[in-house]
Structure formats: structure tokens, C-alpha cells
């Protein structure tokens, strides 16, 4: 562990004029990047700008020869032919989708591919000793034998870093490290990265979370449309979020949310005493007698920490799709309704956009038009026979009105960017013409521009007189969208704040403590 690069050169990495082409498309065009030793360097840009591609070139995923330009690392021109080569040089990349195996333990994952062996037999004693050391360095006190699937995403991220430390990393690349983390885990991770900086490890962070970048980055490189636009030095240039957005977008975004005049009507959806048990653990409740209501034209936010029970509430309402239903009533337009199956829920006018669109919202084998009609096939079929013409025209309609970026609705959804995939999922639910639409983390993993569009869509739905529930972990998002916000903590609704009385602090207080009985 040295505090300075061994060669004493302040520039650790220089990528010069990197150009990477795919058939028909130039992903990177003369991109340059310069990272100083011991600094935290952020890379910002919209989805599709080329950030991940640049990092893949650096780490050897796109090997030497598949790009033009030079990678000069530790003052030597490198020709990485695969990931192992870059790792051997001390460059470790942690991808957005963590590369951990859920069934194996923390220790096994840390040493995967790097097992300490004595004459060909894995030396688990040695591995254990080293894992305890590594875990301590990242601030984890869990038993190394714990299977990965049993620890939360936040801790999994830390295990990935422990894995990187095991590979004697000098340059750590983190792709959207806090995307799936809650506030406290995110903060912990950022502190860790700062701590690693203190120990001489240089980091490159790709992130959309501008507030975090503002917090820890020393330099920020902005990439737009495959070109490097500018590099800002945080201290010297007095950089703040707006400045970063300006660089990413080309002009200041006046507001991140479209203007919206709420037109709120009567209460039309009410939930009383909703109690649901944990699917496996007998004595645990995931929803503790929740009560809430939604009015026509209203956007209601649900705020809470990761694991508070928001998704569980939504899914258990939506056709009892989660947990063991114990008791509770749902009223629509004053009359009680039964939502015992997903189909009943859809027929009753509910729609639910799932949290994880890839695993729960989409069949990645399908194309856009099939997905668009998937939740309301009855509307486009006669006597069970699907009318493919109607299917096509419906899908086209939504493609246009939501401005989904795709050459045609025959394209497979797997090829779309995150933002466009989310639009297709929204289209699917909008087609069912629900009265109440529940959106679970609708803008996760989506760039600024697409988020703006999705906010606009949500507001349009409200304007049509529908009720919208938005579940989100981004408080600014909830504050910008919602007319009222409910807070949830450990399965219970702890409070509700109106738009004008809510702010980050008041929300956070309610999100982190049990309801006071009064």
C-alpha cells in the first residue's frame, strides 16, 4: 500500500483518443481521460453516452485491437487482451450487476478464481484468515460463511470491494455503485471509497447520483454522445449539481420536473387495516394494519428505507402476490372489492409496475408490441383469438405518445435502453386503463432526460383523473412529484405529509421511527 504511485508519476492513467466502433455505430469517438494517482474521478453522462463502453475498453472486456487509441497506465502503454490482464496490472472493475454467486458464501465469493491453494487443494483456513482481514477493511463484521443471498445489497456491494482489495487493486472502477443502495448504505460506501483514497487507491466512479459525485469526487469527466466534453475539477471550478447537468445536457435544466397543476377529486380508493404475514417466517408481519387512501387525480408517494415494506404492501394489494394475507379491506368508489388474484386486481382497475423491470416486468424474449398488450389481451382478441392488427396499432400508438426510442414496435425489448424499457412497461399498464396505477421505483437506473419524460407521463395520468401511487427511494423525486406522501417504517405507515409540509428532514424522521401512538 503506497500513497504515491511507485513511479512517482502523478498521472496514473491516461486514455488517449479512444475510438470504439460497433457495426454501424461509433460508441466512442476520440475520447480522452486523465486520472491522477490517488484521486476519485467521476464520469458522468446520459445512458448511452459511452461511459460503460469506455470502462470496458480500459478493463480489457474489449481487448486490445478492438479499439483505436492508447491506454497509458503507470506510464506504460498497455495492451490488455482480457480482464485477467488488466487485473494483473491492478485495475479492477465492479460492475453495476454484481458478480456474486448467491448460493456461495462471502468467503467463497471473495476468493472465486483466486483461491489460495496448497498443492492444488484449497486452503480454507488461509482463505478465512484473509477474508476476515478484508471484511474488516470494508467495515463488515459478518461471518465469512454467510451465503451471499442472505445479506442485503448494500453489504453485497462491500463484499465486491473486498474482492477487489484481494486482487491488490490500484485503480478501482465502480459502475453505478449506489444505484441499488439506500441512503445509509450509500453513505457508508462513499465513506469507504474516501477511506481507500486515503490508502492510495485511485477510484473511477460512474454515477447518475449527482449529489454523491458532488460530495466525493475530485475531478469529473463528462461524456456526451460518445465524446468527452469537459473535465471539471470540483474544488477549482466550484462544481455543483447544476453545473454537472449543464455539462451533460448542454444547457441548464430549469427544473427536473415538468410543471403540473394538480386537479384532485374525491377519494376513490381506500385500504383499511391491511395486514400481511411474511411468506416464510411465521411470526413476522410485513404489513401491520396499514390504512391509506387515494383521491382521483392525485399522485401519492410512498417513502421509506430499503426493506421498510413498501413493495410488500403494493404487491400484497395487487392480487395477493406476496406474503400471507391475514386481514384487511379494500374499497373502490366506496364499495368493497376482492383482490385475491392478479387478474381480479386488474379487472378491478389496478395496475402495478414492478420494481425490477427485467426480472418481474418484462419477458425479455418478447418484442415491444407483444409486451404492450400482455396485461390486457382480452381487449384485442375476439373469442380468444388475438387480433395482430389491433396489437400492432395499439403498440404504435403508445410508441408515439410515450416517445419510445425504437425503429419499430417489432424490436425485441431486450435491446432497448433502461428508460425505453420502462416506457414499454408503462405502456403495458396504461393499456389496461387502470383507475389506480402503482409505480414501484419507476425511474431507477434511468438517465435524467428519460426521467423527465416519465414524470410527464405520470402527471398526464393524474390529469386524466386516475390515481397514481409512486414508491421511490429518491426523496427529491417524491417531493417533486407527489401531492401527498405516506411514510413507512418496518411495515407500518408512520405518517402522511402534504406536499407543502414535506421536506427531506421531516420525511426522514418519519421513515426512521415507529409510529407514535397519538
Amino acid at each position: 500500500m503506497t500513497s504515491l504511485d511507485t513511479q512517482g508519476d502523478p498521472i496514473l492513467l491516461e486514455m488517449r483518443s479512444i475510438t470504439k466502433e460497433f457495426p454501424g455505430v461509433k460508441a466512442l469517438s476520440n475520447v480522452s481521460l486523465r486520472v491522477m494517482a490517488g484521486e476519485i474521478h467521476a464520469i458522468c453522462g446520459e445512458n448511452g453516452a459511452g461511459k460503460s463502453t469506455l470502462m470496458k475498453v480500459l478493463s480489457g472486456v474489449y481487448p486490445y485491437g478492438s479499439y483505436t487509441g492508447d491506454i497509458v497506465y503507470q506510464a506504460k502503454t498497455q495492451q490488455f487482451k482480457d480482464i485477467r490482464a488488466s487485473e494483473a496490472a491492478g485495475i479492477v472493475i465492479i460492475h453495476q450487476e454484481l458478480a456474486l454467486i448467491p448460493e456461495l458464501s462471502i468467503m467463497e465469493n471473495i476468493f472465486l478464481g483466486n483461491e489460495p491453494t496448497k498443492w492444488g487443494v484449497i486452503d480454507w483456513a488461509e482463505a478465512r484468515k484473509r477474508s476476515l482481514e478484508l471484511l474488516a477493511r470494508v467495515g463488515l463484521r459478518d461471518d465469512p460463511d454467510t451465503p451471499i443471498k442472505e445479506i442485503g445489497v448494500g453489504k453485497q456491494q462491500l463484499v465486491e470491494i473486498a474482492k477487489a482489495l484481494n486482487k491488490s487493486v490500484r485503480l478501482l472502477i465502480l459502475d453505478e455503485p449506489t444505484a441499488a443502495l439506500n441512503e445509509s448504505d450509500s453513505q457508508h460506501l462513499l465513506d469507504l471509497i474516501l477511506g481507500l483514497k486515503g490508502k492510495g487507491i485511485t477510484s473511477i466512479i460512474i454515477s447518475h447520483k449527482l449529489n454523491e459525485i458532488e460530495q466525493i469526487a475530485d475531478e469529473i469527466t463528462i461524456i456526451r454522445d460518445g465524446k468527452s466534453i469537459e473535465t471539471l475539477n470540483v474544488k477549482r471550478d466550484g462544481v455543483d449539481e447544476d453545473r454537472i447537468i449543464k455539462g451533460m445536457v448542454g444547457r441548464t435544466l430549469e427544473s427536473r420536473f415538468p410543471d403540473h397543476e394538480p386537479k384532485i377529486g374525491e377519494v376513490f380508493f381506500e385500504v383499511k387495516d391491511w395486514t400481511v404475514g411474511h411468506p416464510q417466517i411465521q411470526d413476522r408481519l410485513v404489513c401491520k394494519g396499514s390504512n391509506f387512501y387515494v383521491r382521483r387525480g392525485e399522485i401519492v408517494g410512498f417513502a421509506g428505507l430499503m426493506g421498510a415494506g413498501r413493495t410488500e404492501l403494493a404487491r400484497s394489494l395487487f392480487g395477493h402476490s406476496y406474503g400471507r394475507f391475514i386481514k384487511g379491506q379494500v374499497y373502490k368508489d366506496g364499495k368493497p372489492v376482492n383482490l385475491r388474484s392478479v387478474k381480479q386486481a386488474i379487472d378491478a382497475g389496478l395496475g402495478y409496475v414492478t420494481e425490477d423491470r427485467k426480472s418481474l416486468g418484462l419477458n425479455l424474449l418478447d418484442d415491444i408490441k407483444t409486451t404492450t398488450v400482455a396485461a390486457a389481451l382480452d381487449k384485442i382478441s375476439n373469442y380468444s383469438v388475438v387480433d395482430t392488427r389491433k396489437e400492432f396499432s395499439v403498440a404504435e400508438e403508445y410508441r408515439k405518445s410515450l416517445r419510445t426510442k425504437t425503429p419499430s414496435v417489432e424490436e425485441g425489448v431486450a435491446k432497448l435502453s433502461g428508460g425505453n424499457q420502462q416506457k414499454v412497461v408503462l405502456a403495458k399498464w396504461m393499456f389496461t386503463d387502470p383507475d389506480l396505477l402503482i409505480l414501484d421505483e419507476p425511474t431507477r437506473g434511468i438517465d435524467v432526460g428519460a426521467k423527465y419524460e416519465i414524470y410527464g407521463i405520470i402527471q398526464r395520468l393524474a390529469n386524466q383523473g386516475k390515481g397514481v401511487i409512486v414508491i421511490s427511494s429518491e426523496l427529491p423525486e417524491l417531493l417533486g412529484l407527489s401531492d401527498r406522501i405516506y411514510t413507512i417504517f418496518e411495515g407500518a405507515i408512520t405518517g402522511v405529509l402534504d406536499k407543502n409540509e414535506a421536506d427531506q428532514e421531516s420525511l426522514m424522521k418519519l421513515m426512521t421511527s415507529a409510529r407514535k401512538t397519538a
Binding site: F22, P23, G24, V25, A27, E46, N47, G48, A49, D225, M248, V249, R251, L253, F318, S321, S341, V342, K343, A345, Y352, T354, S359, L360, G361, N363, L364, L365, D366, T370, A374, A375, L377, D378, S381, S384, V385, V386, T388, R389, F392, E396, R403, K405, S408, E410, G412, K415, L416, S417, G418, G419, N420, K428, D447, V448, G449, A450, Y452, E453
Partner: protein, 422 residues
Amino acid sequence: MNALKKLFGGNTRQFGMIFALVALIVFFQIFTEGRTLTPGNVINLFNGNSYILILAIGMVLVIIAGHIDLSVGSVAAFVGVFVALAMRDWGFPWWVGVLFGLFLGAVIGAWQGFWVAYVGIPAFIVTLAGMLLFRGFNQFVGKSNTIPVPKEFQFIGSGYLPEVGPNTGFNNLTLLIGLVAVAFVIIMSLRARAAAKALGAEVPELWVEVTKLVLICGAILYATYLFATGRPGTSFPIPGLILAVLVLIYGFIADKTVLGRHVYAVGGNRHAAELSGVQSKKVNFMVMMNMSILAGLAGMIFVARSTASGPFDGVGWELDAIAAVFIGGAAVTGGVGTVIGSIVGGLVMAVLNNGLQLLGVGADLTQIIKGLVLLAAVAFDVYNKSQGKRSITGMLMKNFQRNNEIKPDEATSTKEVISKEA
């Protein structure tokens, strides 16, 4: 060259396999000095393999839904022997026997479907148990004897269309069927084209459509000619007719009905399907029950063709059916596959068997060749798919690609959004 790509490219993944089938037929036709495409041989092909192809229809739906059924051979044999017994010992007339067999298949299917869909035991295990269970029942009921079946029953397995109408030198009914098929194909094609145009969707160029139609209709007419000019008394065989009807029905269901969509949805992503309102348990149950019904039908057709049930019936049929489905382009993980693809896959194996037999190749060498062909066919298909929606000719012509490449993410450019709002 680009045009050739347009001819074959687009959504049809199984064009690769049809290519292989045609190539095999041509190969054998040349090397057997013309004995492959004779009326007699073509009729034999269908007679000898219809029951496997019927199994493949059921099996592809099972595999699309993400399961597998290893019991089909044993179920087919069991139904076959039970029906034969019922007709001999209880005096069932042949049509009652057929209904009984289908009913038996449904009961067995419901049993297996229950365990798979509602209890949640993996289909592999349930049907493996079924394979042993029903093989045992087969031996128990049949006592390893062969039981002959009455002539009327044999009709469904070895019968032909009757000779009606004026003496044209051909079997008239077969001609009729062929002409109807051609007319059907042309009309559907024209309608689809008109509909696509009306919606503003992409239509392939006219000459591409015409060429495709000419090729398909040409093939149908040639096949009709072969079947109609067989030995007097033969025509398009009844098992082939049953197969064709089933292909039309199931192809329609899979492609164009809500139920079909549900099967693909459950296979593609069960959780997403459930959260979209699909009742996955019902779908799984129906798919398993349907398979056993078809297995019962296949068993009866086989017994009818063999004129008697026997203790070895059904042995190994599940593997033949599964091979046909995978050669036809289904994915091991579910969510992908077509009925017509499985038929093509089954025909590839059948033509291979038949051709090697005509050439007098010994059994040992035949097995080796079949194994290698199976591997090559699926590897070829997997390679095609891993390249995205590329067609085979696309693979050969990298420079000419305009559509269908792998693009990195399309971005929603914030600039665009803001300029629109401004």
C-alpha cells in the same frame, strides 16, 4: 446478395432448419438414385413417423412453458395396450376405443399436471416417475403379450383416403387437399400483406413475397403429386392427415390465441407473466394434460399401424420427440419454439433415418451419424440466435448488413426533450 438475405431474413429463425431439411432431401435423392422422392417412400415417411411428430407437437408446448415430459413413450404404450385390451376383451367398438384412449390420456395428463402445476414438483421428476410408472402398468396390463386390434381401428394408423370421383389417374381427395392448401397459403399471404400496408408496417418487396409464395406452393404441389400418384389404394395417409390437422390447430392456438400467448409468457418469465394477470398454474396444468392426451393418441396410431400392441412400444419415443423439438429451434430455458419448427425438426430426423436405410447403412454407423447431425443442427441454430436476429445468409455477408445489427443502448437525449418542451 442483399436480396437473398431479404428472402430468408426477418423473423423466421427456422429457415435455417428448413434449409437443412431441403438439403438432406436433395442429398439423399441424389445418392439413392431417386428412390427418396417416390410416392411410396414419402408415404412410408409419414406412416412411419407421424406418431413421433404428434408427440413433438405436444412436447414443444411443454418445452416452451419451461418444462419437459419424459413419460410420453410409456404413456403412449400404456394407452395403446389398454385400448387394445378394451376392444378385445370388453368389446369396445373402434371409435369407443379411440375416445377411451383420449380419455385415458387426459386422466394421466391431469395426474401429472396436478403434481407439476399445483404441488410444484419439477416436471422432469414427475414425468420421470411417470415413465417408470406407466411402463410398469403397460407390462402389468399387457403381460408382455401382443394384442391385435380390429381392422376398423387399424384405419387410423395405416389407412388412406378413399378413391372418389372420376378416374383421373390420381387420388382425387389428395389433389383436392393440395389445391386447398395452396389456395389457403396464397390468400393468407395476400391478406397479411394488405393488413400490414394498412397499418403502415414494413412490407417486404413484392418480388420477395412472390418468390416465397412460388417456392412454398411449389413444394406443396410437388408433395401433393407424390401422394396422389402412389400405388392405387394409397394417398395421403390418414395418420398424416391427423397430423396435418393437429399442426394447423395447435399452430393456430400457439400463434394466435390468448392461451398461446400465455404459454409463451409463462415460459419466458413466469413471474412477470403472473404479475400481468396470467394464471400460470392453469397454463402449466393444461400444457401437461395436453401432452398426455397427444401421447395417448400417438400410442393408438402406432398400435393401429402395427396392427397390434406390443411390450416394446413407446421405448425411446420421448427422446425422439425431444430431439425433434430442439432441432426445430426451441430453447432449453423455455419461452422459445414453434409447432411448425418442431415438425421440421422431426422430419429432419425422419428423412435422415429413412435415407440411411435406403442406402443400406448399418445400424451402428446410423447411430453415429444421427448423433452428430443432432449436435450440428442445434449448434448451428444456437450460433444463429447468439448473433441476434440474424439469418444464415447474414452470417455469410457481414458487409451488407443494414438492419438487424446489435446496437448499444439508444439514449433519450435530454436535449431533445428540453427543446420539445421549450
